[in-house]
Amino acid sequence: MLRPLAPCPPSSVDTPVMPPIISISNLSKTYASGFQALKRIDLDIDKGEIFALLGPNGAGKTTLISVICGIVTPSTGTVTVGGHNILTDYRAARSLIGLVPQELHTDAFESVWATVTFSRGLFGLPADPGHIEKVLRSLSLWDKKDTKILFLSGGMKRRVLIAKALAHEPKVLFLDEPTAGVDVELRKDMWNVVRALRASGVTIILTTHYIEEAEEMADRIGVINKGEIILVERKAELMRKLGKKELTLQLHNALDAIPAELARHKLALAPGGKELTYTYNTQGERTGITALLDDLARANIRFRDIQTTQSSLEDIFVGLVRKDQ
């Protein structure tokens, strides 16, 4: 298990390091059935960051969020939110949190306005129609404010859940699979809302299956598998560290097999024999590209075109989870 990396290194020694907004230490959860959903999780979330939690189905993402939010009782370990213990000082801790659950749990017979107003009151805040209006407008829900939730589409219900979570002006927002089953336009809208929230200082923790979402949005990425955090890294660092590159050569003439002169390179010949792919690590001391090109010239293999591609977060994720199995 990895301890998460320290927050972004301060630019000068004078810059104070902010305490994490969420601190999880030695957290485990074993359900009554005996299933251990979380195994000794240690994780710090920095104030104001967007943290993406990736993991296959059943990895423990939702359990982890549910423990922090007070829905599931932890078996061992401690969690603090804004310095408040989630068990002994639950009021202060929960006041800071907004939760958008994965499932579309809504009150079918309520109007959008009533359900969002209810959420604000439940968190102990005085009524503020101005704030509710602002939230509803930002989520394009304003013209639906008097509609019963029952009559809304799935995507609209998702927006209602986000509006409910934002009704009490949380400092930390959990988005559990926020864009599952949501069309592209709405997804982009949500990303904009998330960016605006982050700009206003809200810390965002999102779980997602859409790795492009994490790649596009997140500052840091955590990968959870079988109840264990197997990696926490800044996104850019992760891409740099684990990123593999592929160099693809489109050949003039098809090859039957990789010639002996090129055997020392890690090459793959595509079916049809007209494409050679060379995989290399960008972090390596030597990428081996020059040697490969020299050998190609020596073998008199000519190529029409050349292109390189960087592996995506998705490739990295799949690789990590597979390695862990």
């Binding site: 007070g70 599931v72 929960r94 006041s95 949190i97 009533a114 009151g121 439940l122 102990g124």
Partner: protein, 253 residues
């Protein structure tokens, strides 16, 4: 105490009642009126007065009790079971509210609805039979206490229930029979001695008896015992609810 949260839950639950106003109020009033027509006007005229009280008037406190018990348990059990069923309970569990505040919100709303209903039925009864209330303060006291106690019981049932059948099980199989056998339509004095003793194990006898005493100053058991038994039942419900929240029984995994 998070008073705003209590208010939010209370208002939310009362709005649910308002939405279903017709079935919430009209149907119990209609069914109670039918009891008066059948037992008061039709059969009641052939039944002698009981301890100087006209039979139609005699059954009024019992009928109100019957309605309070069934409505309180139904309202409160549905009120907490429905969020469990739809999943919206997640919001209550993740909000900065204590268990006491959750209970006050839900049980308060369920009890309020029952009390309003009880008063409406009382007014309806006044249209059919001559009514007299000797001890109005005790009458209101019994009404509120019973409504709160059985709303707590309903809350417990709602948390315990795993499906809609279980939600109906206790009201149908326990509360309604016990109410019918608890002296709603008769004084337990008319029972043979053996059955009188058995009847004293029925907690509803004490509720009906005390409530009837507040109307006509006649009772099967002394009003002090009635009051004490009601408080004992209330205390039992409070302890059970406290245990549910302490252990997270059927609420938290």
């Amino acid at each position: 105490m998070n008073v705003r949260a209590i208010r939010s839950i209370y208002v939310f639950e009362m709005a649910r009642t308002a939405r279903t106003l017709f079935q919430s109020i009209v149907s119990p009033v209609v069914s109670t009126s039918l009891y008066f027509i059948v037992f008061g006007a039709a059969i009641g005229t052939r039944i002698q007065e009981i301890e100087g009280v006209n039979y139609g008037a005699f059954i009024v406190p019992g009928l109100i009790m019957l309605m309070i018990l069934t409505q309180s348990t139904a309202n409160a059990s549905f009120g907490i079971y429905f969020p469990k069923f739809t999943g919206t309970i997640f919001e209550i569990l993740s909000a900065p509210v204590s268990f006491v505040e959750i209970v006050i919100g839900y049980v308060g709303a369920a009890a309020t609805k029952s009390i309003i209903l009880g008063l409406i039925i009382l007014a309806t009864a006044g249209l059919f039979v001559p009514l007299r209330i000797d001890h109005p303060v005790f009458m209101l006291g019994f009404l509120v206490l019973t409504a709160v106690t059985f709303s707590l019981l309903g809350f417990i049932i709602g948390i315990w229930a795993d499906g809609f059948e279980q939600l109906q099980l206790i009201p149908l199989l326990v509360i309604t029979p016990l109410t019918f056998l608890g002296g709603t339509f008769y004084s337990i004095d008319v029972l043979p001695p053996f059955w009188q003793t058995i009847a004293l194990f029925n907690p509803i006898v004490y509720l009906v008896s005390g409530f009837r005493w507040s109307f006509y100053s006649i009772a099967d058991v002394s009003v002090g015992v009635s009051l004490a038994m009601t408080f004992v039942f209330l205390a039992l419900c409070i302890v059970t609810v406290w245990w549910i929240f302490k252990t997270g029984y059927r609420l938290k995994r």
